[in-house]
Symmetry: C2
Amino acid sequence: MQTVFPELTDDVIGRMKGASPRMHEVMSLLIRHAHAFVREAALTQEEWRAGIDFLTRTGQMCSDSRQEFILLSDILGVSMLVDAVAHQSADKGITDSTVLGPFYAGPQRELDQGESILLREEDGEPLIMRGRVADPGGNPVVGAKVEVWQTATNQLYDVQDENQPHGHLRATFRTDEQGHYEFRTILPVSYPIPDDGPAGQLLRALGRHPFRPAHVHFMISAPSHETLVTHLFLKGDKYLDSDAVFGVKPSLVVQPERRHGVSTITYDFGLARKR
Amino acid sequence: MQTVFPELTDDVIGRMKGASPRMHEVMSLLIRHAHAFVREAALTQEEWRAGIDFLTRTGQMCSDSRQEFILLSDILGVSMLVDAVAHQSADKGITDSTVLGPFYAGPQRELDQGESILLREEDGEPLIMRGRVADPGGNPVVGAKVEVWQTATNQLYDVQDENQPHGHLRATFRTDEQGHYEFRTILPVSYPIPDDGPAGQLLRALGRHPFRPAHVHFMISAPSHETLVTHLFLKGDKYLDSDAVFGVKPSLVVQPERRHGVSTITYDFGLARKR
């Protein structure tokens, strides 16, 4: 196959003499791959135009409560790959990370150990989540910030649903002197990512479903440790092998223990020390 | 270099079983190149986030009169490459094409042979543009639609400038029985592409200027011929070697003939026959 217009790529890259070294590196790779994609796909002008329209609609779908480009990055596996690149040298004793997702909503109300993150009744089955936050040597991380969030049983996060009280099913806890955390919630449910926009159209065009297996989000941070962004998934969920955003890792799948109508998940997190 | 998370790319591509053959081909290439870019650049989470923000702002800059994603495609050489892929087997006698650009505004008023495309006085130097539209065998293309557009001397197209009459410096002509076209206008001027949005920020971060060398746009179409999208540039323009959108081809650079204060450009266009 003869390369079409090979000098164009060098011309574009050659014009970035004012870029910082890192900007030059990233943009050179971006341009090489973008041009290689156009050549190898022999992209037609109609397909290019469809791509422009798709990106435009994706940008215009974004609002304070909706980030359609993150959804797009998620469903193409880009977000998980960026996460993997950032955590490729993880040591033993450090919990696997996964995507942040678009529904983290910034600072959350702080609750005391053992309190419930519900702001209204839910039909879901009661769940206690507890465990310990430690460093790879097993030393407790005291006063770590444990931020958690999940959907209601109607498959929506509070920020997607004006009928939920603001802050419902999300809260921040602090680990105690032994590094323990504990809170009450309900069993999470599987749910579709918002599929009424361009990302949903793309999923349908690829023959994919929009569901994520049931999970609770965690972001755990402490001053001298690397922040951990992860989820815990429920064993047995039918979408574990086909998560729409490729976020599942075997080490993050847990089996609740059920006693007297209450489920309990005990999970210990390991945080890396800051380098 | 060890490949980070290699199975992810196969997993994403393996999930597209419901895609049409062409969709599968294009998306597989897109995912392979997007993932290779992230791995080779070792893109950080902060850079990914900056990219999401950049794309979001680009989408939100788009309006009925502004297409920021086309500008972005233009300044990265993607638009010219798509054009080159579409016209790689151009025969002798067919005029080189170049980018459409974001300022084509759809159907334009039709004028008679020799009329002026100005709707108000301009300071610019009078210019007559004339020539012939023919097929590669030299046969006239009769009744071809010749659509032309250019900026005013203030460096703005009518669609960018509410002070210009709607349709100023753009019009449609038809070739006569000999394939001739002719119209009056003013000498075009070099101008900056709109650089008050994300595309402009990127140009500055790369140390590039936003200027395009002076040109008049042409779109020439006829039922049994391939549509030609091109520009004519003025010889001697200082931006010919650094067009912000990489649109210049040597065959499209012309030298006006100046006589009694009026410049004339005579240029013959060759259209391919439809396959």
